[in-house]
């Protein structure tokens, strides 16, 4: 049974099939779900329901979802917005993010990819402000200013890009992080390369951390990405 204290995900989507698929994924994350099939309905629901995350289609009856973002913000909504659109070329994604979307996923989407992104957004909504220098998980310590990674007393030498990677993993510890998310946030590149370039980078980082810790810290999630498990089964900051 949905608990009114659970976060609400509002899905503004005119394709019933897609809306149902998104709703199923959202419920799987333990959230309440509201559906709207037109832009006007969606805006009204956003005002009424105070959703934590809005999944917004672009080509909706009533207009482009992106254009409604400003109206949404003007209405006082603090919801994080994930645009889920068939306008999925790199240029569309960049445009969407520039115009205020918090994330942008192209249709057709992998359910795992959407799940990972929704989880990241939900967590971002609840995230406590971390110590702005140290991120620590048990014996794994990441110092942001010094840009160093330690496991226990062992220093793990990482390249600047690997450091950015490990910080991103640390901020999403315990969650599935997809290759596309990494490419977008760590490299700021919004297209889908033909080869899995990200795997090589993650692989190198994974080997370095595993060597230092004596256990695997980055696991490959079935399907679409990786999970950072600094402390087995326990997550903390």
């Amino acid at each position: 049974m949905p608990d009114p204290a659970d976060p609400l995900i509002l899905i503004i989507e005119d394709d019933a099939e897609t809306a149902a698929a998104v709703a199923a994924i959202a419920r799987g994350l333990g959230t309440r779900v509201a559906l709207a099939a037109t832009l006007a309905e969606g805006l009204a629901a956003a005002r009424a329901g105070d959703p934590a995350v809005i999944v917004l289609d672009r080509m909706l009856p009533g207009g482009d979802g992106i254009a409604a973002l400003a109206a949404l913000r003007a209405g006082g909504s603090t919801a994080l917005v994930l645009v889920l659109s068939a306008l999925g070329r790199a240029a569309n994604r960049v445009e969407g993010l520039e115009r205020g979307a918090d994330d942008y996923l192209a249709k057709p989407f992998e359910p795992d990819e959407l799940r990972a992104r929704l989880r990241a957004l939900l967590r971002r909504g609840q995230m406590q402000v971390l110590d702005n220098d140290l991120i620590a998980f048990g014996d794994v310590e990441i110092r942001l200013k010094a840009r160093t990674v330690h496991v226990g007393t062992r220093h793990v030498p990482v390249s600047p890009r690997e450091f950015a990677l490990v910080v991103h993993f640390a901020r999403h510890a315990g969650q599935v992080v997809t290759r596309m998310q990494l490419l977008e946030t760590v490299w700021n590149l919004h297209f889908d390369p033909q080869t899995n370039v990200v795997d090589v980078h993650v692989g190198r980082l994974r080997r370095k951390l595993e060597q230092a810790a004596g256990r695997p810290l980055i696991l490959t999630a079935r399907g679409e990405g990786y999970v950072f498990f600094p402390v087995p089964a326990v997550e903390g900051a």
Partner: protein, 448 residues
């Protein structure tokens, strides 16, 4: 440049035509004048002969001698000579019989008049054998007629030169006027080719053929503009109408249990399908947007370094020897995502086709007024028969059938280069494959 040459050619043609026509006219006139002068000389000779003939009819040789002496004493022009039976001079102003005049017995007429020269002066004369072994020569000087004709020739030469100059000037002006209007239309075509589909010629159209041509060009451009807008709408519609059903298929795949391999294969196929139409849409959008603005200052050095950083470990893992030499702080006006996509496509290809041990080298430098981004490898290179079509859509080498790909990578790179007004070249190399993109640089003061 061919434009001034065309003007020159047209001017020269007009000048030559004018000169040839007037020369022909003047030559005809010269001929008439020359004929007329000759006829006058012949008429003079005829009058002389007739007079001498009348005297001869009365008193034969004696009368001729008296008439000749009388004429010479009166100081008349021309030559007269009467010879006796043994060739001795009976009367006249010549010491001996001149050569070059045929002697006939045609009587006292100007028939058989011929030109001959005595002491450097040209004369027209007739020579006659008279009964009893006598000979008579009557001639008139041609100096006056020759002088007239010489003056006429000088006049004609002068006029011909003047006509040539005037023709050249008129031709130049006329050609300039025509060429200026053609140049305006050419300039318009250049702007359109460079991407400015909304470019038009200013002002009203003239009512002549050029005005008509301009009107036609404008109508054509309007039509191209409409088609272009329709293409933009169509690509968005295609994206939407194809992605939505593909999305449903993908969502339904999650409900299939127990056949993970098949489901994963289907997923991969669908992703490849989407990548193909994404690339096609990217290509047509980049081509349609070429020269259309909307670009921002981009630090090409930083961006190239970032994309290189993304691919370098992959290249190392595949056993290649990657090396980059990126000159700092080279800026261009561009679209960051597109440029990164172009470079990523090139690097994808290199990593895909090179064998362990091959070298892969990225360089960025300012050269010849361009920011030249060059990627070269020592891999298998490109089959020679493919070079001509390498940048077209769906070009793939037969040997690459086994390698994943759709033959859109280089086509997209080219479209992105065109979008940025950059020059894409595939310089020939002894071993491997090389590609160079020369981006128009952004001066430091324009970086904002």
């Amino acid at each position: 440049m061919s434009l001034p040459r065309a003007t020159l050619r047209l001017a020269a043609l007009v000048a030559a035509a004018v000169a040839v026509l007037s020369l022909a006219g003047m030559a005809l006139q010269y001929r008439l004048v020359a004929d007329r002068l000759h006829a006058g000389q012949v008429a003079l000779l005829a009058a002389d002969m007739e007079g001498l003939g009348a005297l001869y009819d009365q008193r034969r040789i004696i009368a001729l001698r008296q008439a000749i002496d009388y004429r010479l004493a009166a100081g008349g022009p021309g030559l007269l000579l009467l010879l006796g039976k043994q060739g001795q001079v009976l009367a006249g102003n010549l010491a001996e019989w001149p050569g070059g005049v045929p002697r006939t017995a045609a009587g006292f007429t100007p028939e058989g008049a011929a030109v001959f020269t005595v002491d450097g002066a040209r004369h027209l004369g007739v020579a006659r054998d008279l009964p009893g072994g006598f000979a008579l020569l009557v001639a008139h000087p041609l100096a006056a007629a020759d002088a007239t004709l010489a003056a006429l020739r000088r006049g004609i030469a002068g006029i011909a030169l003047a006509m040539l100059a005037a023709g050249a000037a008129v031709g130049w002006l006329a050609a300039r006027r025509i060429m200026a209007r053609i140049r305006a239309i050419n300039a318009l075509a250049d702007r359109v080719a460079a991407g400015d589909l909304d470019a038009r010629l200013p002002g009203p159209r003239a009512g002549d053929e050029f005005g008509l041509l301009e009107t036609h060009v404008h109508a054509m451009l309007d039509r191209i503009g409409n088609l272009n807008r329709a293409t933009h709408r169509l690509s968005d519609t295609i994206a939407h109408e194809l992605r939505t059903p593909l999305n449903r298929m993908l969502q339904k795949l999650t409900r299939i249990a127990g056949q993970e391999t098949v489901v994963d294969d289907l997923r991969a196929e669908m992703r490849a399908t989407i990548r193909i139409f994404d690339s096609l849409l990217d290509i047509s959008r980049a081509e349609a947007d070429a020269g259309a603005g909307g670009l921002v200052p981009v630090d090409l050095s930083a961006l190239a370094a970032e994309v290189w950083d993304l691919y370098e470990p992959l290249a190392e893992d595949r056993g290649l020897t990657p090396a980059a030499e990126i000159a700092p702080d080279l800026w261009i006006l561009g679209d960051r995502t597109l440029i990164a996509q172009a470079l990523a496509n090139l690097l994808d290809n290199a990593v895909k086709f090179c064998r362990p041990g091959d070298a892969l080298r990225l360089t960025l430098r300012a050269e010849g007024g361009r920011q030249v981004l060059a990627l070269a490898d020592t891999g298998p290179g490109m089959p020679a028969d493919l070079r001509a079509t390498a940048l077209d859509r769906f070009t793939r080498a037969g040997r690459d059938r086994a390698v994943a790909g759709h033959g859109l990578g280089l086509a997209l790179v080219r479209a992105i280069a065109v979008r940025h007004g950059a020059r894409l070249e595939l310089p020939p190399v002894a071993q491997g494959f090389a590609v160079e993109i020369g981006w128009p640089p952004l001066p430091p003061e324009a970086r904002g």
